[in-house]
Each structure stands twice: as structure tokens, then as C-alpha cells.
Amino acid sequence: MRQDHLISATQLSRADIEAVLDRAAEIDADPAAWHGRHSGSILGLCFFEPSTRTRMSFDTAMKRLGGRTTDMGAVESSSVKKGETLADTMRVLEGYADALVLRHPSEGAAAMAAEFVDVPLVNAGDGAGQHPTQTLLDLYTIRENAGLDDITVGIMGDLKYGRTVHSLASALTNFDVRQEFVSPESLRLPRSVRYDLHGSGAQVREHTDLDGVLADLDILYVTRIQRERFPDENEYRKVAGEYRIDAEDLDVAKDSLTVLHPLPRVDEIAPEVDDTRHAKYFEQAHNGVPIRMALLDSLLETDTEGDR
């Protein structure tokens, strides 16, 4: 596999992460200096399931670097509908673009696709697996608000199927971070993520409610409890209500607590929280552009230099 595919947060070292975050900070400081840097380059957007933020931020990032994007469009209007394999689709599309971004509903899709292409491939979410570029923008936002060492991060919601959680938990092991996971018993972290956390020696605790840990947190990362995961609607309602935060809940939190969410939210963060000093999730979403500019700049720069 090429060294410059980005498939999983587990492949990112602290130095890798800091390099992207530093470059994103440079972009943030002087966006105009990066315009036109990759004119002539084309990024292929291959989204096999719906996406708003990820798709548009990659599109925007490439255009702000002076490049262009080519988009396979909706699955319903592509050859995938005719039964083409993902492997074949990706082998065709690599001929159209200098780098590819893949979002797919199956876990492992990006890892497999990477075996079939020779242009840099970025995993933009594979089922309940990984979402490493979301993690980079999460880390960027955390660094801006709390730093990345000697902090306590609470991650609450659907930890089992939440790919952003899996990537973030893994990446945080590169830093001096205490991780507090809060979820219903049925949506605890999957075995593979727990295995990696244990193996890395990370400081990790698991809880079924937020009350006991909220006051200690520097970051609270909330994810949606996914209704579709519950066979029984009543079970969902019972659980979902316990993992919703409102402004009053945050009274016990540190003044400096930063609340993040990969979005879209449904009702797990009350709208009134938006007006508190804690809410940083829209800023977090905006950070997707400089982060993806930094990542694409790095990938395309490497490619231009022929470092394959």
C-alpha cells in the first residue's frame, strides 16, 4: 500500500497529526497564500452514501487550492447501479483524478480500494469503521480550544457504530489525554477499538451516564444516538433522553469546557447550548476546510515530487 493513502486514524503518529494541524493553522492565518497552489490538479469525489459536510468541505478545499473536483454523483445514477464492484469503479476513477476521496457504507471499503489504486486515496468514512479526516479537524478544534496534552476528553453517544468516535479515540492515544466514554451499555465501544486503546496504554474509563464525569471534562464530544440501531422504538426513546444535554446540564462543567459534535445533530444537544461559550461545533465544522486543504496539499505535493 502507498504510504500516502489515509485510511485509518490508527496509521497517524503524533508527528503526522501535528504536521497537518500546523499546516492547517498556516492556511487559516493566510488563506490567500494558498490559492492556486494546486491549479491543474483534480480531486475525485466518490461518495457511495449521502454526505454534506465532508463532501462539500473536500470540494471547497480543493477549489481553494486552485484545483478542481470531479464527482461520480449519486450512486443511483452511476454504474454501481449496474452491479459494478467497488474495486472496478475505483480502478476506473483513478485514471480521472490526481487523488480520490471515498465514502462508502461498508467497513473496510477504503482499505480494500487502496489496494487497487495508485493515486492517493482518502477514507471519508467507511460504514461504522473510520473517518480519519473528521478526526483531524476534531483534533484541530481541540488544540485550538484546550491544547492536546494533559486534558480530559469525554466522548458520549453511539460509541459502537460511530466512526468518528473510533478514529478520534485512536488518534487521541498519541497525546496525554484521559478518555471518558459515556454510552448505553448496548452502544459501548466495539471490541477492536477497546483492544487498540488497551494496547496503547491509554487512560480510558467507560460510563453509562455523564453526571459523574462532566465536571472533570475539558472537551465533551457528543454524537447522535442512532435511532435506526434500535430494534425497539421504546428502548431508543428511553436511552436517547439520557444522552441529551441542555444548558442547565452544563452548569456543573468547567467554564472552559468545549462541546463538540461531528454533526448532523438531531436532539442530543439542545439549541440553547448554541448560545453558550461552550458550543464550538459549528466552528469545528468550518475547520474541515483548512484541515482538508492541508491534507490535500500534503498528498498532492508528495505526488508531484514523485515520492510514490
Binding site: G108, A111, G129, R191
Partner: protein
Amino acid sequence: MTDTDRELRVSKIRNGTVIDHLTAGQALNVLALLGIDGSGGETVSVGMNVPSDTLATKDIVKVEDRELSQSEVDVLAVISPEATINIIRDYEVIEKQRIERPESVEGVLSCPNRNCITTGDEPIRTRFAVLEEGLRCHYCDEIVRESEITSHLTVT
């Protein structure tokens, strides 16, 4: 009674493979691993819970006219690490195949994660990294504990 005498409890084979010192209870899983269910007409002898000097009890499988692929040996090493493999020609042991815990196992297990890309029609073989106490899908990261491995054998 020697080990050789005990092996005679299940008939000797002329040509093929003797898989000995299997962890007791694994014989049927080994047959599943080899894709043997009797329908192929193979001559197979199976001993289960046979007394053993080195293991309290063991299983033993003798398969006529069949040798194991490396992938099959790799899985065997995971589910029954004490197993020994003897290749038989004209009733004589002509080779003792070494069995070592591999770094990965390819093509003989399906991933239990129904949403793993390997469960579709893609042109790839399953691949699992071998951990201390199980296997991990190279593609989706799903971990399969050793006790669960035989449930996911891909019978060929």
C-alpha cells in the same frame, strides 16, 4: 501402549495426511476447515478424546489422498497450536510438517461483520492478522476470538 499403537485405533492410511495432537474437541472443526463433510467420498478416520502422553486427551484426523494448503495449516495453528502434521506415503511418514503460529491467515475464514467489504462481491480474499487471542480482519478491524474462529470457516 505407545502413541503408535493408539493411532492404530483408527486405521492406518496409505497416502495422505495425519493431523495428530489436536486439542480435544477440535477434530470436527478440522474437518470443517478442510471442507470435508463426507459428500466428497474421501476416506477419513477420526479419533476423538484419545488418551495422550503429552496432552491429557487429544483428537486425531487421518485423511486419505489429501494434503493441507498453507492457509489451512495457518488456521490449524491458531485453533490447535499443539497439532502435528504427518505426510504419509505407502503407510510411511515421509514428512513431518512444521506448524507455526502465522502472522496472518488468508482466504479460509469469512468475516463475521456482515457489513465488512469482504462479504460483498469484491475481487479480494479475506485476510486476518493473528493476535495473541484471536484474529483481526485486515479490512474492517473486526476481532474474532479463538473460540469463535471455527464458526467462520469458509468451507470450500
